[in-house]
């Protein structure tokens, strides 16, 4: 036994005398990767990029995957919640408080979480000497698109928002709100750069960002900024690509749809929209039902009313609900959430052309959508329509084509300046002119003293 003690003691002595400094030098954890290693190879750089796709696609309360759709539809005149839920109520009645948890977790925080990821990858690629040029360009372009997409919705929903283009938290954490016009400039810049960096690799399906997807979003951005010529030009680039075509109504949101410019490929189920909008059974109340006003906007004979809307009758009340995405169950996966689709691009070009007084081509674009819905073409029914009437028709078409999708209605009401008149009538005394912007989450105001609150929420 004492021999063992001696050995133990010798061992102890050796360990003691050996360099303690060395002892403390531990390798990085096996379960994680150091940033410096990630941008050493094309493969891991790709993983860092796809990491963001995966996060957004599989996050059920992601800003850019469901949340905008669900909550903007309530804020606008599209849907109402059928259950008792304080958060839903606040959006529906436009009585949002800055303490609303959805605002914080599903919108603001979530958006910036992902914007950080884009900036980290962009910076990593920029500094990398090992990633090949083509991969670098492609991945940088994809990240620029996603950065622009998140900023786009932030600036639309909240107004002035801090613009994040780096990962330096020392600067970012206390940044004040950036003027909306500067944010818009950055969005435009990001998308233009992205559309030059991304080579339109047709091998990729629409679950990755293509050059066309960048052009599509850029067309929308130009439209929102009133840059009609540019909007038309970008829209035409997309429409001119043979990859895309309008699908029949029931196929628009299916995997393989040619109408979709870009969609999220969820690994773990069908779409967030499907799981949130569809009722559990034919006798159950759907969680969100369509407002009567929207129902009456559909013209008679509009196929979308039957293909994209369904109803359940519960306790004698009829509840209409969005049925664009038709699968509620998790598997098998047959549908994907479309971020942007060709129908919108036609409507963008129609609007841009109208504003440039190119009415006849605008009518053609509008008729693409109308005829797909089984409606009479405007070219036949009213070829001499006035510019104002045509614009109205385009907005109404947008309302019924893009309902319950990505807050299109909410943003259209705002950018057309109609929100106050239309929502003021529908929402009654709850509606205030300041409701067109959401409040900044109180939590953020408390952690960043340089942030200011939107009017009406102080």
């Amino acid at each position: 036994m004492k021999n063992k003690i001696v050995k133990l003691l010798i061992l102890t002595l050796l360990v003691t005398l050996s360099s303690c400094k060395k002892f403390l030098e531990i390798p990085p954890p096996e379960t994680e990767v150091e940033l410096s290693k990630i941008f050493d190879s094309d493969q891991t750089a790709l993983a860092a990029t796809l990491g963001l796709y995966s996060r957004v696609a599989n996050d059920v309360s992601a800003f850019c995957n469901g949340s905008i759709t669900i909550y903007s539809a309530l804020s606008a005149d599209e849907t109402f919640n059928t259950g008792v839920n304080t958060n839903d109520d606040a959006f529906r009645t436009n009585t949002l408080l800055s303490s609303n948890s959805v605002l914080l977790s599903s919108m603001w925080r979530n958006a910036y979480l992902y914007i950080y990821h884009t900036n980290a990858v962009i910076e990593g690629l920029e500094q990398s000497a090992s990633v090949s040029r083509t991969v670098k360009d492609q991945l940088t372009g994809e990240m620029l698109y996603l950065r622009a997409l998140h900023h786009f919705y932030l600036v639309n929903l909240f107004g002035d928002v801090p613009l994040m283009t780096s990962t330096n938290y020392l600067v970012n954490a206390n940044m004040a709100r950036t003027q909306a016009s500067i944010v818009w400039d950055q969005i435009t810049h990001d998308l233009r750069q992205a559309s030059t960096l991304i080579t339109d690799n047709t091998n990729l399906d629409n679950t990755r960002i293509s050059r066309a997807a960048c052009q599509g979003l850029l067309a929308r951005v130009y439209l929102y900024r009133g840059l009609w010529k540019e909007a038309e030009s970008e829209a035409s680039k997309v429409i001119g690509t043979s990859r895309f075509a309008l699908e029949s109504l029931n196929n628009v949101f299916l995997i393989g749809s040619k109408e979709v410019l870009f969609s999220w490929a969820r690994a773990t189920g069908n779409t967030v929209e499907g799981s949130k909008f569809l009722p559990t059974s034919t006798t159950a109340r759907p969680p969100y039902a369509l407002q009567p006003g929207l129902m009456s906007t559909f013209e008679n004979g509009d196929d979308r009313k039957t293909s994209w809307i369904k109803s359940n009758t519960v306790s004698g009340t009829i509840y209409n609900y969005p049925n664009k995405y038709k699968v509620r169950a998790a598997s098998p996966i047959t549908e994907r959430c479309a971020v942007q689709r060709l129908a919108e691009i036609y409507l963008i070009r129609a609007e841009a052309r109208t504003n440039q007084n190119d009415l006849s081509n605008a009518i053609d674009d509008l008729d693409m959508i109308r005829s797909r819905a089984g409606l009479t073409r405007l070219k036949l029914s009213n070829p001499t329509i006035s510019r104002e009437e045509l614009l109205k028709a385009i907005y109404r078409e947008r309302q019924v084509e893009l309902f319950a999708e990505w807050g299109h209605r909410w943003l259209d009401l705002k950018r057309s300046g109609q929100a106050n008149t239309i929502l003021g009538q529908i929402k009654g005394s709850n509606w205030q002119t300041t409701d067109i912007l959401y409040p900044l989450p109180i939590n953020e105001l408390q952690t960043n003293p340089n942030l200011t609150q939107n009017l009406g929420y102080e």
Binding site: T16, K21, G51, L104, L113, Y169, A284, E444, P449
Partner: protein, 1153 residues
């Protein structure tokens, strides 16, 4: 013990004279050192040996150590001699052979010596020498391995009269005949004093032979002896609490001699509490230590805070103290053991609560718990000591008869204080009144105010008492403990096993089962140079619980239908699904979602020490600790709300985590025993390695419940794993200098390195100094303070650190995403990284006064402390626009905790068959944020305020309930007529305890033994109304009966608003303001009869006839009574949705064979 030395084999030594054998006995390397020793001068020799450590380096000492080990190989047993009329020289030879000691003696003396008659058996070297020199005019001294024989100084042995006066000489020994050096002797009423020398001998001048001599010595009772009888004085060991052993870092001390702030709780106070977690047994007993129960669930966690909160960021550091069991860090500590959440977690704030790893430590195995508080005590733990250190020492065996001890108890538990809820009739009335108040009618359109399926669609005559159903059952506690201990003077052992089972108060069969085993071996070699302490413990804690704490659901509408006619769980009634009504659910579904955790703790420690030279000890402590948490839970189809049909399929979760740690701590300790002063130096090194490996598997989309146990049966699997490594190393030293047991100085220092910091910031130094002045040892004060038997002033100042920030935080790490994208795995940034953060250092100051009165029958301790923490490592909150909500960095803020602590122990009565003792402790803490540069510009502006506590209540200032409208009124700071959090929030109060402590009484009368312990806490806490902000009375939630005291008519005074059923109504809004106001806080002070135990000890001869040495029966109770004016369920958990602490009563029997 009279074991024959059967193993002993005399080694063959060549015949040599006493001079030479000394030289040759050691190895070559040692010889070189020895050769220079002046052997002819024993006094010089002694000094020489003791100075060696100063001159030689560690390597030489180590080698020396091995040499000694070799020479002492055969001498494990005692000395046995049986001789008749033998020359002394040959007896010495026998002793030499048997002991390994060597004699040094002038030949002349040997020749003069008388022949020896001697019979001794298994004796120590001292006993042997005392016996064989009894009749001789010789004395001896042991120097290391050498025994020096000298002639007795005859002159000094006799009382004589010299020119100065009478001189008395003598020797002082303890009761067991060992000599006592350093005993103070003084002639009573005079200034004549002396102290005994190394052999316990003394010589003192006295005025006359009838003078009274007072003998005092630390750890022994004071003795008065007439000078004429002082030739041989034996002192009795002290029974004062001051002399009980206190365990400190790398050693022990006593309350008397300690310079630090340490509180010790002994087994006697722990054993009689029917609890499974040692933390429960500590509640209220240690001043400065605030322990609060997070939940009444068996096995759940306790919040532990020593001397206040220092952390600005409770998410990063909970300010948990360091737990050390038998010298080895208990790595699982006090952080929750579980990865999967269960009923042990707070259902509304999942991050709090959880399962306590310390539940694997059987309180009955604990000998003592020492809580180290100030810098002097904790600085030597370096970076780990910032939040204090709790040293747990397990029981060890005692020499003597083998002792078999068995203890069994059994009893019942029910929930303690809780709130009564409305029955259906009252509930319906509340709902209807609320609608009337709002001027609305109950309807079935959810988009229209007045939606009331509970009144219109659901049966309004049905009544379920959810409190009774969900948490109103009776839990059963059973505990078995058996331990066997014994041994001889050289080796002692203890082995034991325990089993504890507590069933829950939930419906269904849920229980916490802990099986534990403990072993302990202590050994000391015959020559007392080699010491070994080994202990090993194993425990398996299996806890089955529902997935969520069902207390969360006691406020379901009391007419909710639970079962369908076919006996299956009901999820809707008349087409209205519960999930669409305030997200209600069928709570019984969670009893189907079984959570099953198995926590295993294995720990072993071995401490070896060897006395190289007199006073010089080499010690190596090593230990291994492994904590495994293995959990699973599942969600069978019957527990899934059909509203999620097709979306949520049966699923199962499997998680395991293994934390294993080894530690080695070589130490070198040198003690200089001297007549007037004691000097102790400790040098050491710590090397620690901790690995944490774990997995978390979630299986989704099972097609059938029968596959739920298998991860392969899942349709889809999410898997993640962790593997982290933590390394820590340090050098430490401590010098303790004790001058005449009067002035004591303790200095410690440590240099720490931790792998949790980037290489540039890796090392840090910590140091502390403690001083004590035992003023009652001063002669000029002894007469001034006749009632005071002990008085000590002490103070300490020093630094401690903290590296509890998690591993690898200085690296920029990316982690795999949960799911691949298009089948390619993804990566994402885990957190912001900051490579520049440095050590956090805390400064601690302490002043203490320890006093004993009336021969230590009354002991009082007063302490003041001031701990300051700055450069704190925190998860600095960031606006989420930065991408994350926090980053680890050093905070510029400085936090101060100050406080007074008072402890009093009193033996009120001590008679033959009646004794009564009381102990009281009070802590008055104060927490303050001293400074926070640029606080207003930081993310903490809305949370903290300079000069105030960290636990601030910030919100609206509640004014009153408007007697005209029945609505709460709040202060509108900026007078804009609106209430909003930005401009109208104020800092109002804090939730720190004002004071807390405990009161213990032990009374024994004849065979009866009664102990009761009160815990008290004066504090402000959240009332039940704070939980009503979102479940407003009048909504579709049941309410505590107390809401019936609501406002009804103008002019009425009330605490509770009028009912309302409409979200957004003035009354509802004002409820939500109320939840964010100081009105939601109330006095949550309480006095709790924490423990009551009554025992009856059987006595009489009949016990031995049935071979029992002791037999006791007892009843014990925990949380029997709580006195409080708190408006809510339990003032400790302060949460309406959390199971209140249980009230337990058990009866048991304890017997010793």
């Amino acid at each position: 013990m009279s074991a024959q030395p059967t193993i002993y084999q005399p080694t063959k030594t060549k015949s040599m004279n006493f001079y030479t054998c000394f030289h040759n006995a050691y190895g070559e390397k040692w010889k070189r050192i020895c050769m220079r020793i002046p052997l002819n001068k024993p006094e010089v020799l002694f000094r020489y040996i003791t100075t060696i450590p100063m001159r030689t380096n560690v390597v030489v000492l180590m080698l020396a150590f091995f040499c000694f080990l070799n020479t002492s190989r055969a001498f494990g047993q005692g000395i046995s001699i049986s001789v008749k009329k033998q020359p002394l020289e040959s007896v010495f030879k026998i002793i030499e052979k048997q002991s390994g000691y060597l004699f040094w003696c002038e030949k002349e003396l040997l020749q003069k010596a008388r022949p020896v008659d001697l019979t001794i058996n298994n004796a120590t070297i001292e006993q042997a020498l005392n016996a064989c020199l009894k009749e001789q005019d010789l004395s001896y001294a042991i120097k290391g391995k050498t025994i020096v024989i000298k002639a007795k100084d005859k002159a000094s042995e006799k009382k004589s009269i010299n020119s100065k006066g009478l001189v008395v000489t003598g020797q002082v020994t303890s009761e067991n005949a060992s000599v006592l050096p350093g005993v103070s002797i003084r002639q009573k009423g005079s200034q004549r004093t002396t102290v005994t020398d190394k052999e316990g001998k003394f010589s003192i001048e006295v005025t006359d032979f009838n003078a009274i001599l007072q003998f005092s010595y630390v750890g022994y009772e004071l003795k008065e002896v007439r000078a004429s009888n002082a030739e041989a004085v034996s002192l009795a060991a002290s029974t004062s609490k001051l002399d009980e052993v206190q365990v400190i870092a790398y050693g022990t001390t006593t309350r008397r001699l300690s310079t630090s702030s340490i509180s010790t709780i002994k087994a006697a106070d722990i054993e009689n509490q029917p609890v499974s977690n040692p933390l429960a047994a500590l509640q209220g007993r240690v001043p400065g230590l605030l322990i609060s129960q997070t939940s009444g669930v068996a096995g759940s966690a306790f919040k532990v805070q020593l001397r206040g909160q220092t952390s600005l960021d409770p998410s990063l550091s909970q300010n948990n103290p360091l737990f050390i069991i038998d010298g080895i860090p208990f790595e699982a500590g006090n952080t929750a053991a579980n990865q999967i959440n269960s009923a042990a977690n707070n259902p509304t704030s999942i991050s709090s609560g959880g399962l306590s790893p310390l539940n694997t430590l059987n309180p009955q195995d604990i000998e003592s718990i020492d809580v180290l508080k100030d810098a002097d005590a904790t600085s030597i733990y370096g970076n780990r000591g910032a939040n204090g250190v709790i040293l747990i020492t397990t029981k060890k065996g005692q020499a003597g008869k083998t002792n078999v001890r068995a203890n069994v108890y059994s009893g019942i538990s029910r929930i303690g204080r809780s709130m009564d809820m409305l029955d259906t009739k009252e509930y319906i009335a509340v709902r209807k009144e609320a609608m009337e108040n709002d001027g609305i009618k109950p309807g079935l359109n959810p988009a229209v105010a007045g939606y009331a399926p509970d009144l219109l669609s659901w049966d309004t005559t049905r009544y379920t008492d959810f409190k009774k159903l969900l948490i109103g059952n009776t839990g059963h506690s059973t505990n078995y403990k058996i331990s066997v201990s014994g041994g001889n003077t050289g080796t002692q052992f203890i082995v034991g096993a325990g089993y504890n089972k507590q069933t829950s108060v939930y419906p269904g069969s849920f229980a916490d089962n802990v099986i534990s085993f403990n072993t302990g071996i202590t050994h000391q070699s015959q020559n007392k140079r080699f010491n070994l302490i080994f202990s090993a413990n194993y425990a398996n804690d299996r806890n089955t619980l529902p997935r969520y704490d069902l207390t969360r659901y006691i406020n379901l509408p009391p007419n909710l239908k639970l079962y369908n006619d076919d006996g299956s769980l009901s999820w809707s009634e008349n087409g209205v699904a519960y999930a669409t009504v305030n997200n209600h659910t069928n709570p019984l579904s969670y009893t189907l979602q079984m959570y099953d955790a198995q926590n295993e703790n294995l720990s072993g420690s071995l401490s070896l020490s060897y006395q190289i030279l007199e006073g010089l000890k080499l010690k190596v402590t090593s230990g291994y600790n492994r904590f495994i948490a293995d959990e699973k839970t599942n969600k069978p189809s019957a527990s899934i709300d059909p509203i999620f049909d097709g979306i949520v399929l049966p699923s199962a979760e499997f998680a395991n985590q293994k934390t294993s740690s080894w530690i080695v701590e070589p130490q070198l300790e040198y003690t200089l025993p001297a007549e007037k002063s004691g000097f102790n130096i400790l040098l050491g090194n710590t090397i620690q390695n901790k690995q944490n490996v774990g997995q978390y598997l979630t299986g989704f989309d099972y097609t059938s419940d029968i596959l739920l146990g298998s991860i392969r049966g899942a349709g889809r699997i999410d898997a993640s794993n962790i593997n982290t490594l933590y390394r820590y190393t340090a050098f430490f030293g401590r010098i303790n200098y004790n001058f005449a047991n009067r002035y004591i100085l303790n200095v410690s220092a440590r240099r720490d390195g931790s792998s949790r910091f980037s290489p540039e910031q890796r090392w840090a130094n910590f140091a502390a100094v403690g001083i004590a002045w035992i003023f009652t040892e001063e002669n000029f004060l002894k007469n001034l303070l006749p009632l005071m038997s002990f008085g000590k002033l002490r103070g300490s100042y020093g630094t401690t650190g903290n590296d509890q920030i998690g591993d690898y935080k200085f690296l920029n790490l990316w982690t795999n995403t949960l799911n691949p994208y298009n089948n390619v795995p993804g990566l994402y940034p885990r957190s912001l990284y900051n490579p520049t953060y440095e050590w956090e250092i805390n400064n601690k100051l302490e002043l203490g006064l320890d006093m004993g009165f009336l021969k230590d029958r009354l002991l009082v301790t007063l302490a003041y402390y001031r701990n300051r923490s700055n450069n704190q490592l925190i998860n600095y909150k960031l606006a989420s626009q930065s991408g994350f909500t926090s980053v680890i960095q050093n905070s510029p803020a400085e936090v101060e905790n100050t406080g007074f602590e008072f402890t009093m122990t009193s033996k009120n009565f001590e008679r033959h068959d009646f004794s009564w003792s009381t102990s009281v402790n009070i802590s008055i803490p104060r927490n303050r944020l001293i400074s926070f540069p640029n606080l207003s510009g930081s993310s903490y502006a809305s949370r903290y305020q300079e000069g105030r506590s960290l636990n601030l209540i910030r919100g609206y200032k509640f004014l009153y309930l408007d007697q005209q409208t029945g609505i709460y009124k709040f202060e509108d700071v900026n007078g804009d007529g609106l209430l909003n959090s930005g401009s109208d929030y104020q800092f109002l109060a804090n939730t720190d305890p004002k004071f807390f402590g405990g009161l213990q009484n032990n009374i024994s009368f004849k065979n009866f033994d009664l102990q009761f312990f009160f815990q008290y806490n004066r504090q402000t806490g959240a009332s039940y109304i704070s939980k009503l902000a979102n479940t407003v009375p009048g909504y579709i939630y049941n309410q505590p009966s107390i809401v019936l005291e609501r406002w009804l008519a103008p002019g009425q005074q009330s605490n509770i608003e009028k009912f309302t059923a409409t979200p957004g109504s003035a009354a509802a809004l004002s409820y939500s303001y109320f939840g964010n106001s100081d009105g939601a806080y109330t006095d949550a002070s309480f006095l709790r009869l924490k423990n009551l135990s009554l025992g009856y000890q059987f006595k009489g001869n009949w016990l031995s006839k049935i071979h029992l040495s002791a037999l006791k029966v007892y009843v014990e109770s925990q949380n029997l009574l709580t006195i409080t004016s708190y408006k809510g369920p339990d003032p400790e958990t302060q949460d309406f949705y959390v199971l209140p602490p249980l009230r337990t009563v058990v009866a048991g029997i304890q017997l010793n064979l």
